[in-house]
Homo-oligomer: 397 residues x 4
Amino acid sequence: MHRITMLGTGLIGTFYTMVLHGDRSRDRVGVVYSRQEAHAREFARKWEVPVSTTSLEEAIRHPETDVVVIGLPNDQHAEAATMAARAGKAVLCTKPLARTAAEAKQMLDAVEKRGVFHGYLEDLVYTPKTLKALESVRKGRLGRILWTRSRETHPGPHSDWFWNKEVSGGGAIIDMGCHCIEIGRNFIGKDIRPLEVMCWADTQVHPIDAEDSAVGLVRYAGGAIGQFEVSWTFRGGMDLRDEVSGTEGTIWLNHWLRTGFETFTTSERSDYVAEKSESEQGWLFPVGDEPGALGYRDMFRDMLDSLDSGKPPMESFYDGYVVNSIMDAAYRSAAAKRWEPVELAQWRGTSDTSEAKELEPFDDDHFLIKREKMPDGTTKMILKEKAGGRIVERVGE
Amino acid sequence: MHRITMLGTGLIGTFYTMVLHGDRSRDRVGVVYSRQEAHAREFARKWEVPVSTTSLEEAIRHPETDVVVIGLPNDQHAEAATMAARAGKAVLCTKPLARTAAEAKQMLDAVEKRGVFHGYLEDLVYTPKTLKALESVRKGRLGRILWTRSRETHPGPHSDWFWNKEVSGGGAIIDMGCHCIEIGRNFIGKDIRPLEVMCWADTQVHPIDAEDSAVGLVRYAGGAIGQFEVSWTFRGGMDLRDEVSGTEGTIWLNHWLRTGFETFTTSERSDYVAEKSESEQGWLFPVGDEPGALGYRDMFRDMLDSLDSGKPPMESFYDGYVVNSIMDAAYRSAAAKRWEPVELAQWRGTSDTSEAKELEPFDDDHFLIKREKMPDGTTKMILKEKAGGRIVERVGE
Amino acid sequence: MHRITMLGTGLIGTFYTMVLHGDRSRDRVGVVYSRQEAHAREFARKWEVPVSTTSLEEAIRHPETDVVVIGLPNDQHAEAATMAARAGKAVLCTKPLARTAAEAKQMLDAVEKRGVFHGYLEDLVYTPKTLKALESVRKGRLGRILWTRSRETHPGPHSDWFWNKEVSGGGAIIDMGCHCIEIGRNFIGKDIRPLEVMCWADTQVHPIDAEDSAVGLVRYAGGAIGQFEVSWTFRGGMDLRDEVSGTEGTIWLNHWLRTGFETFTTSERSDYVAEKSESEQGWLFPVGDEPGALGYRDMFRDMLDSLDSGKPPMESFYDGYVVNSIMDAAYRSAAAKRWEPVELAQWRGTSDTSEAKELEPFDDDHFLIKREKMPDGTTKMILKEKAGGRIVERVGE
Amino acid sequence: MHRITMLGTGLIGTFYTMVLHGDRSRDRVGVVYSRQEAHAREFARKWEVPVSTTSLEEAIRHPETDVVVIGLPNDQHAEAATMAARAGKAVLCTKPLARTAAEAKQMLDAVEKRGVFHGYLEDLVYTPKTLKALESVRKGRLGRILWTRSRETHPGPHSDWFWNKEVSGGGAIIDMGCHCIEIGRNFIGKDIRPLEVMCWADTQVHPIDAEDSAVGLVRYAGGAIGQFEVSWTFRGGMDLRDEVSGTEGTIWLNHWLRTGFETFTTSERSDYVAEKSESEQGWLFPVGDEPGALGYRDMFRDMLDSLDSGKPPMESFYDGYVVNSIMDAAYRSAAAKRWEPVELAQWRGTSDTSEAKELEPFDDDHFLIKREKMPDGTTKMILKEKAGGRIVERVGE
């Protein structure tokens, strides 16, 4: 079992603690920190945490704590992570790892220099659906991955600091693009180098400085594309979907608005429907197990089991650093209006960048391009002549 | 933490142990029992259970065990439960509680006489979706519940004993009707008396004695109907859906085949898709978190938390007994081809059987029957005159 | 081309005329009849119908009319159909054909005696989805049909006369059960005799004499079950779904609330969403092509093409009579609380009532009961020994 | 009624004729042309067309023809359209209008010079779902449109000429991007100027010269984005979806793979499932009314009704020209790897390019940024101070 220091008492600290304490768990949050004493005390009371404090140092260095969880606004990640590394504690940091790749690199260096266990709390790659989908991709059930789309949009975050660019480091890209980018990277292959990014970003609706909408394409070695779509302007709740296309298959995941729970009510009795839900009457789409559907349960299981067994977790600070590097390129691209390279001080994956394309033979003289059943029951084949390359069609039964 | 004796090493024992040991749990299965030594030993090895035995008595009476989980074929429930009660151990029994109401009543009497904690492992009322839906119903968001439909169909169970009527006590009704009936009862209200049952049952496909298909209606005091549909002949996987209709709202739950995970593959590389899946190519619908979606996680949490806090769990042996009584009436009805009363030696709910119907006033002279927006933009109202009862329509903006 | 007399100017007459005049059609409504002169005149103006009248006889006997469409309240069908038959005109009658089987039989006799073309306007078996599904069933893609469920529920009809039992002949069963019964009959096979009916019916919500909710099972020769579910108490719009189970496959049709059109709006600008929609804000589910989705287009195409080519249409008065006979049995069953026989003065289908069950051989000594892929990758088979009938399981790769 | 000359006998000519002749239509194809005599003759026989010819000139100039429909490969559109214009016939041309904007401009000039009726057969903006969605947008139910996504992907076209860049003018962009671009343009507003395009395109799988995959963003005056996704590498059938986001609402359309028709079969009896379906066993998703779902019916209705009433149709050659101009910019962008301007020789819409952003007042001192219901039942508001612009949060009931 682990004794955990929770840094931060906002929605994220609450969700984390709910999961860490949940389901007959043997782990416990032993110390909670907030800058504001009232928040720390109230949180400690509610979650039965023995110690609450407004001292970051005290929280991290508490002698019973062996794991520090950073659930603070983005501008406080680096300081907390560095302090935890110096204290020799395992450190788990919420997403995004930092506001910029440079800041992320400092954090990575800090934990690696001290040799402490480090985990990047990228929950959305840990949803049970995503884990099963990734396993399916690893088994080759989709063939070579060509394209992914990861989308997270909702009407905007629930705390003021997200909307403040100095604190958060950016808008919808920093807040949610980090999720979408890492989901795409997991499906395409974390060993495959992200090369360049094309991104559109705009402030379409809200009276803020940062972008409230963005769409980006990350191009990987080998030609696969990881597309991300983020917005704080979406109406209808939280849209959390992934799509994966491979040469042999397709995956569609819907994590939030369409998960097999549909309800209609005319009642005006108030109810909590789901995170970011925008309505309480009419057709509603609650989520059965919110922490599970967001990946929190499997994320902490992986983190703490990995810590117990001395293995690196699925998502480490290095992954967080790669994501920050991709986001940096996205911001540069949005400004320059052209593709921008992903700058990685250190690349730990494969350096193979060849594109593998398979030609499917049809007969001695032709490659098969495609085969389709027509309405009249016949099958049409599109073929390419091996000699000369002419494209022809043939009809069969 | 609890030390658990697991009786049975089949699919159900496996699922239960996976969940009891899962997600950083502090509970552990300490003893496993199977009639067949090889099964007991293999199970113990796989799940790191310290003790395995082929002696039921030894398994139950093991000094470190404080909770006995019955995951045995139906004909062995009564003996095991009685033995556990005598040993003063908490006892959790898989569904159905027994083969008949009479057998269930013996088990209920046994645990109540010894005063041991008893839980009925009706997992499907514990799915996160169902728990949230029940909460919504309790809050009045659906108004008065009028009708529920609970459906469980698949191509048939995975172990031979299910197909043997002597061992199981019946066919699809005993195997799955117990789930559907208790789901309906939870939505309609466990305090409301089930009065009578109309049931059709037939052996439509399989070469067996028991029914492989059934549809039944349970009528409750107040007039609500709990409809159940079960079959071992369904093609396409496992169809696990609930529908709830109330005077003010509707709930639709899909637990298995459409939960927001869709994949297509042409790959012939083999893969496990989901329980009872019938295909491995083409469009497939895996389930992200199978044990969660089946309610196992929240069920054991409720059982063990209730045991810790000295409260009765959500589902007790009494509930199992009511379900068996309803199933008895279903079998009688299928044979007699008419509605049959539910015979309960003991009814612990309310004895109020009045039907509450609300008349919605429209104006001084009329009740409102309904209101509908028409294609031309007008609103049509159907009204009933308070004096005389004539039904009229009126068109408004 | 045809010149049509439209009897009735309500929602049904409007929908029918919209379709008859729609999509570059060569047919035209030439005469419109309503008891109320203002209605007839307004309808004629709106739909550019040259002649309007309040005389039923004049409408039917108009010299340019060759087809009479009955879109009147149920109690006026028999008179209108008989008059049209006597006038030697082709007659198409909306659903239900009549209020009782006896009345339907009179209508059938009237049209057959005069030898006029007669069509039963059971639109819901004509939806493009249903037609394609029926073709698939006829091709054997589902094997032997075992069970169908057809459901039509909404918050109640839009005209006063539906709610008046004298005029309509009943409640939700007469209004919508007729659809569901005929859908089931088409899937199971119109040549197969409906034998008996078990039906529950109740007035759960509305202050009316007729039933506002009912569930029924129609048992056919050979053992197939056609289940119908109807209600005027449903909340959330119009629920129009069919399910078909066969020995080799499954069909699920959703005609209304989930057809691939989803929209969310916070706007309070008013809009027509879809027939029977109950809300205008939040998540809404419009239907793209309402007349098409309800089968009107393909129904009139079949009727008029059949008339042109001298063939009987897919649905004739005889079908309407069978449906009324099944509904009569449903009402008797609801009252008697037991299965009631379907009484048909004349059965024109097959008289074969044998139940065909296939035993699938596994090897020389066993029949195969089922096969399932287990989570550990093995395949489990349930077998029945040919000699003795013992059920055993076997595990393979 | 109209007498139509059909140019082309491929899948598109077949679909067009099926619809033109369908559903009791008064219009008829009177002449059919194919370069290959056998094709022309066979088509004429099958569709009961009186005249077939291999002479383009003869087909167009046939004295009974008043409408010419161009269903030929892309490289033959310009010649045919020009010839039809010279002959003074109404001319309807399949999509894309041309291979390039320059070619499209010639065609536009040709029809406008002769003053003939011209329609651009962009069927996918005419699906009943799309028409209803567009009406909803026009009524302001979604507020200001911010972003659209239109996606068409499948495993590749069914005729050889699509794969030949000389004939077709390009790959997936020319084939399907034209649809997606015009869908986005309709939702954002055809009066609003498309300014620039960013596009990624690649040949990921097939052994061809043209792109088999592309994703592009079209930026419009006012800041709205029309995103298109096209691919000939998708596995699982034809993915045809649109998404629309506005300041007050959302629309999701699924035209093909999830329209409320789901079937599972183990039968090996062959069947046509739907256009571009890739499997015949397992879970399948047929489309009820394929021509309707693709917009063909409403498209020809609009074209011929507009011709009859002397009004321009919803989609004209000018629209086709705009789409070609956007596609030209997309190809330039894919090559240059940066945003490229849309070059329009003539812009017929509004020249207003202002971005309208609304600030929602909360109280005298604050604008409202967003409002969200939290799990604990409170409501959190994010506000912006009117003076100074600081962002703060406030919690209410």
